[in-house]
């Protein structure tokens, strides 16, 4: 699945974007499946806006976001759901777990949607990231770090061509970041997918094929 950006400019950031040369905003860019893209985004340049725009959560922009020739803004809700379950997955900066569900229920609500990963494998991933003991804890009671790890596992429970990540390891220490990177890379490879990671500072979490300043 190919991602094409054609002069995308978020309306709320339009004035700011006009003051500097962004590598993505207002540019025409194409990303092919399999690419590892790092987007370095200093504060206030629209890092979360970019991830939300690519994922179809925001429509307040000029230009076009095009997934496989289909303009995202014109994509119907049912098609958008299909894209989100089969082609594009996301790790949100704010995790977005269901606070009233347990960690395991948060996993199952996604896993049972696509049924591409077994419950045993999902449980093993939780174990690898060190939150197996939090399985029955309500998400609202978990620490940010634990929530982030559950959110990472949840994002990997579906088939995808692209994995979008918005500061995915911001709440993790180095050891847990390392474990999470290992798991993400393994599943991305298994899916022959590409990834777009947006973060504040340069990093070497993945062997990026492109690094762009937002």
């Amino acid at each position: 699945m190919q991602l094409t950006l054609r002069g995308v400019t978020p309306i709320p950031l339009r004035d700011k974007i006009n003051t500097y040369a962004s590598g993505i905003w207002k540019q025409d860019r194409t990303f092919d499946k399999g690419q590892y893209v790092f987007v370095q985004a200093p504060s206030g340049t629209g890092k979360t806006t970019l991830v939300h725009t690519l994922y179809g959560l925001r429509n307040d922009y000029e230009g076009d976001v095009i997934w496989n020739g289909q303009k995202l803004a014109q994509t119907k809700a049912e098609q958008l759901a299909a894209i989100r379950t089969r082609h594009v997955s996301v790790i949100f900066q704010d995790m977005r777990l269901f606070p009233e569900l347990t960690a395991w229920e948060n996993i199952e609500v996604k896993r049972q949607l696509t049924n591409t990963v077994t419950a045993e494998e999902a449980a093993e991933w939780l174990d690898r990231l060190g939150i197996a003991d939090k399985r029955n804890s309500q998400a609202a009671t978990m620490s940010y770090g634990e929530q982030q790890r559950a959110a990472i596992v949840r994002a990997l429970l579906q088939p995808f061509d692209w994995l979008l990540m918005d500061e995915p390891f911001s709440h993790l220490d180095a050891a847990n970041t390392h474990k999470a990177i290992g798991l993400v890379q393994e599943v991305v490879k298994r899916n022959n997918a590409g990834l777009i990671l947006a973060d504040l500072d340069p990093n070497e979490y993945f062997p990026y094929t492109q690094a762009i300043l937002l």
Binding site: A77, A81, R84, T85, E100, V109, L113
Partner: protein
């Protein structure tokens, strides 16, 4: 630990915030509205059956009128001028408000009635016959064939009143109840006018009519007598017709009677008044029921919308992680649709119970209502079901789309 199913998780996310009391209240409102609507349909159907049905309910909704051609100074000497031709009958059949036309046949042969005992009398007797379905209280033994031992006769109840309240007191005769009159046996001397010997037929009064002011014998007897003893050239054209009318107070009907110079007793409007009241009552009940059904549906739809609004954050997040609006709508509908079916079934049971008691009450009044109402009830239930399903699926779809 058993793994939670997708349904259990969605239940927790989307329906977990509902208080069951509110759900029951909404369902009760819907049930009351639906039941009232179904009951009003049953009321309408019951009255329709009572007033216009083919059943033996005395055709309460119709008014019966006997019409004849006016005897005027111009036609009083003309032979057959007041008889109804087939064209006249056809015209009357198609007149406004006329539901059915019956020919009144009279005897064209002499009938002489005699009785012995304390109430001895002897008199010439005019007889008429009308089709059986025009007789208000048809006796069980209402038939006659040549050779039958007894001729049943129906007498206008006005004749008995005239005897009891006017004639008997003036003559010092005893007053007679209906049952005692039925015990009086009389002999009818029939015919003897055309060279053929007369025959004697034993007769009994078997009933009294409030509808027809005449003396009635079975059609077969009149036909037999007219054929055997009838005056030559008398023909079979009726001089009177009995009409079953829906509303004789209708101006078009009155104009028709007037323009054709027919005579009738058009005062008998009480059933049309009753019908007007019944129609007003059923109409008002229907409107009230539709209003309540509307309110009940609104309450239920608002409850569904409230449920969805409460679950808005979860719905939005579910859509973000890939749940399609269709899947979520289908989940919500699958939750609410069985409740609709359940409510309708409860409403149907309540309505049928009401009909059971109504039929019992009607039976005590001598009226027959069927225990199982006809197609209008099922049509109304199906209509309610379709409307509710459409409204609810629409409400769910719209609320989820907005979320």
């Amino acid at each position: 630990m058993s793994a939670p199913t997708n349904k259990q998780i969605l239940n927790k996310l989307l329906l977990g915030r509902n208080r069951s009391g509110r759900l029951w209240a909404a369902l009760a409102a819907l049930c009351v509205g639906t039941t009232l609507l179904l009951v009003s349909v049953i009321i309408w159907w019951d009255f329709n059956e009572l007033l216009y049905g083919k059943d033996q309910n005395d055709s309460l909704g119709s008014t019966f009128l006997v019409i004849g051609k006016k005897v005027t100074d111009q036609n009083m000497g003309m032979k057959n001028a007041t008889l109804f031709t087939s064209a006249d009958i056809d015209s009357v059949t198609h007149a406004p408000q006329v539901q059915e036309v019956g020919l009144i046949s009279s005897n064209h042969f002499p009938v002489y009635a005699m009785a012995g005992g304390d109430l001895a009398f002897a008199t010439d007797l005019p007889l008429e016959s009308v089709p059986d379905n025009f007789i208000d209280k048809l006796p069980g033994n209402w038939n006659w064939q040549p050779g039958s031992a007894d001729l049943p006769i129906i007498v206008s109840s006005q004749f008995l009143d005239l005897y009891n309240y006017v004639f008997a007191p003036s003559q010092g005769l005893p007053q007679l109840s209906e049952s005692s009159v039925k015990l009086i046996s009389m002999n009818l001397k029939v015919g003897g006018n055309n060279g053929m010997p007369p025959e004697t037929v034993r007769a009994h009064v078997v009933g009294f009519s409030d509808r027809i002011g005449s003396v009635l014998a079975p059609q077969s007897f009149i036909d037999y007598g007219n054929q055997k003893y009838g005056k030559p050239g008398a023909g079979s054209a009726p001089s009177q017709l009995i009409l079953k009318t829906k509303d004789p107070s209708d101006t078009h009907f009155a104009q028709y009677i007037e323009s054709h110079q027919y005579s009738t007793n058009s005062q008998n409007l009480r059933w049309s008044r009753v019908r007007a009241i019944v129609e007003a009552v059923t109409g008002a009940t229907g409107i009230l029921a539709i209003l309540l059904m509307g309110i009940g549906t609104l309450v239920f739809v608002l409850f569904i919308e409230l449920t969805i609004v409460k679950a808005q954050a979860s719905l939005a997040l579910l859509k973000e992680i890939g749940y399609s609006p269709r899947r979520l709508s289908s989940f919500m509908s699958r939750h609410f649709v069985p409740l609709i079916f359940g409510t309708l079934i409860v409403s149907l049971i309540l309505s049928l119970t009401a009909q059971y008691f109504a039929a019992g009450a009607a039976a005590r009044q001598g009226l027959r209502l069927q225990l199982m109402p006809g197609w209008p009830l099922w049509a109304a239930a199906a209509f309610c079901l379709v409307i509710l399903l459409l409204l609810i699926s629409n409400a769910v779809k719209n609320a989820i789309k907005k979320g």
